[in-house]
């Protein structure tokens, strides 16, 4: 039996506007840029992909299923800048063949810095998904598939999730493969779904690569690779950015045709089917325990944190953000809290990455800054202003208190 499980990540950050140390206005986000990027990606990817998948789901009458993890910050932007995307997601939710996963509302790295903030953001996200799609997420995925034993324990303790998603990194699997359901170390109930990075990346990264020996990738060829899993696995977890369709792989690469024809090819084999992550958890038992004492992620070849925490600027910026958590929360000012949370989105720290900067590559993709240094300077200036507003809010409160007494 090979159950193909698609999960698509949907996310766009609130990008910052150019903010110098001389700026005082407490407006940090670039409305124009965010709106135009959101609309552009919507027209190239979100809208055509949603329409196509909706059609395919209807065509296969319950046999084709998919899952999405949509961040709170991108949903806010859809509502604001392109509400038509919202209605297509509504339609997908109504088919009953679409599952929505849980994550941090702000696509943040809060797990690494603040337990309380991490839990609050998961709750915030769960509420939003429940409100919009009438589902309560039961499978959790952390930002950029950042994962470790400690994360699994934390998620199990919330008692709200049945499974967690992680990268099927070779060094944690050893001789095993990602095509089974596993259990995280020290967990009794929680299951672990691992990404089949090889087959996922064939679609997400290699699909249009002319130098790839398997080029061109067709639906029947890919289905053949899925069939090979039969007998040596239960599931094929294809996890990728939703922007793969139409944005990373442009329409003229044939990516949409590929997706349209894939279900038929996969279903040709009688042992194959499509499942959502939740269904995998219900269907299959955990076959083994996977121990991940050190943090892994789905980024780059290193599969570690170095894309967000690889240099002194990144660790400093992250440290400074979480340093003011208490301060922000003490002000009980909703605006300050909202601004602070939007600053936690992992993209801000990704822009500061110096790893491949000189070579120019995937890290430049959608990076609104000319250099990682510019992004750090901008971020720190915004954070400096936010801090000032906190201090001002306190002195105001004190004044009003002393007036009343």
């Amino acid at each position: 039996m090979a159950s193909v499980c698609f999960y698509f990540q949907v996310h766009q950050p609130f990008r910052l506007r150019h903010y110098t140390v001389f700026d005082h206005t407490p407006r940090y986000f670039d409305e124009f840029k965010n709106a135009s990027i959101c609309r552009k990606v919507a027209s190239k990817c979100y809208l055509p992909s949603n329409r196509l998948l909706l059609e395919v789901i209807r065509r296969y009458e319950g046999q084709f299923k998919i899952a999405y993890s949509i961040t709170g910050v991108v949903l806010e932007q859809f509502q604001k800048y392109c509400p038509e995307v919202m209605s297509t997601f509504d339609a997908l939710a109504e088919t009953g063949c679409v599952e929505f996963l849980g994550e941090t509302y702000h696509h943040s790295l809060s797990f690494l810095y603040s337990h309380s903030e991490f839990i609050e953001q998961i709750n915030q996200h769960t509420e939003l998904i429940r409100k919009l799609y009438g589902q309560t997420p039961r499978v959790f995925r952390n930002t950029e598939l950042i994962y470790s034993n400690a994360l699994a324990e934390t998620i199990e303790k919330t008692g709200r999730f049945d499974a967690i998603i992680a990268e099927g990194a070779d060094h944690v699997l050893g001789h095993r493969n990602s095509n089974f359901v596993y259990r995280p170390s020290n967990c009794d109930r929680l299951k672990l779904l691992l990404k089949n990075y090889s087959l996922s990346d064939d679609i997400a990264f290699r699909f249009s690569n002319h130098d790839w020996p398997e080029f061109p990738l067709t639906a029947d060829k890919f289905a053949g690779w899925v069939n090979r899993v039969n007998g040596n696995g239960q599931c094929v977890n294809l996890f990728m950015d939703y922007e793969t369709f139409g944005e990373h792989q442009w329409e003229d690469t044939g990516i949409f045709d590929f997706m349209e024809h894939l279900p038929a090819e996969v279903l040709k084999h009688p042992d194959n089917n499509f499942m959502t992550p939740g269904e995998l958890v219900d269907t299959y038992d955990a076959v083994d325990v996977v121990d991940v004492p050190h943090i892994i992620s789905w980024a780059d070849t290193e599969r570690d944190l170095s894309a967000w925490l690889g240099n002194a600027m990144q660790s400093n910026a992250l440290h400074e953000v979480y340093k003011i958590e208490k301060l922000i929360k003490q002000t009980q000012n909703e605006e300050l809290l909202a601004d602070w949370r939007r600053l936690q989105t992992s993209d801000h720290f990704y822009y500061m990455c110096t790893k491949y900067f000189a070579d120019g590559d995937v890290h430049k993709y959608f990076n609104p800054y000319e250099s990682p240094y510019d992004s750090y300077i901008n971020f720190m200036n915004v954070l400096g202003n936010l801090r000032q507003r906190c201090d001002q809010s306190f002195s105001k409160n004190k004044k009003s208190l002393s007036k009343t007494s």
């Binding site: 140390v21 400093n316 750090y376 300077i377 720190m380």
Partner: protein, 455 residues
Amino acid sequence: MRVFMLGWEFPPYISGGLGTACHGLTKAMDELGLDVTFVLPKPLDENASGHVKILSPRQCKQTQTYRNPDQIHEVERNDDFTHTTFHEIPSLLQPYITPEYYQQKIETIVRERTVDYIREAGGETAVDEWYQMIADIDIEPTGAGQYGGDMYTEAHRYAASAVRLAMQEDFDVIHAHDWMTYPAAIAVASVTGKPLVVHVHSTEFDRSGEHVNQMIYNIENRGMHAANKIIAVSDLTRNIIISRYGVLGEKVEVVYNGVEQNGESRMAFDHVGISNDEKIVLFLGRITMQKGPEYFLMAARKVLEKVDNVKFVIAGTGDMMHRIIEMAAQMGIGHKVLFTGFLRGKDLEKVYQMADLYVMPSVSEPFGIAPLEALNHDVPVLISKQSGVAEVLTHVLKVDFWDVNEMANKIIAVLKYPPLQLTLREHGNFEVRRLKWAGAAEKCKQIYQEMVQHV
């Protein structure tokens, strides 16, 4: 492959980046095994601080064998050169000077030389010879506006000497650095029929903005059109050559400069009169319109609105020096801006070691070697986007020279956030190690080979 190279300044006596570039390039060519004959105009003023002169005995010994009666010296250097010979031609040529300064300079030299000469030789014959020399130098008592004529004469004196020298040498290509050498290069090329490369380190538009000196422009223009190939130090310069001098793009190749790895690591300082908790922002270069010193001051004033424990050091001299000192005073930041004059050797090392940030706000910088040297000394740099070096450096801060607000924003960030300085320094130093002269020399060699095949 033998190269007949015409330059105008050479370390250790230099006034700008050109001498550094010529040294780095010829040294790398030397290592590649190219035979280079390097011809320099030798200024007569031996006490001058800012240009080539007879190289000091420690670093080279003069063979005293005049190659011809016109006093062309063959200079033997005992440092790293094995395939390179140096020739110096007496001339008053100097880069980067104004007409007034030039006129004044000639007069001083003539006066001092006279006295020395009489003292040394003594007697009436010496006086006769001195008169002869004056005639040779060919200075007429002129008023303003005659500058062009004088320069022109000088450039031609250099040309005549270079031709005489070239007649005795055997070589395959001629390589000339910047406009002062172009008349000589054209003359040598027409006499010998060898292919000519002109190497453009800067143009009149970089030095003077829109107020170009027509005579210099004409010489540049003639040199570029006479050349078989033009080497530009950046795409920025290549574009100027194409758009302002009407040269076909296919004739212009970009060869980026490199940097020699000689930076010393930073040390602790408590003996230099600036307290350790005070930050230093450094401007190092000629104080001229081209280098944008006034933008540095305007940014400094903005920085001081936010940060107090910082000093701005302006190292260099130039025709705008007095104006800039006055400007700092008028802005009320005179006590925060220090002028050091022209620095070299130990003093230069010291100022690099003290600096927290090097700023190059150039209005128009064909390349800009100085930021590479700063990086080499572990100093992070902020450079204007209007510089050629911005095309090759990624781990630096960049800003439009006119955007003093942004310039100040970035300076403050470096002073305020140690992780920024740390990351810039680490990556910058690593990046600069990849920019070697060997690559530039290799590219020149390819260009020579193509030209020789074509001819």
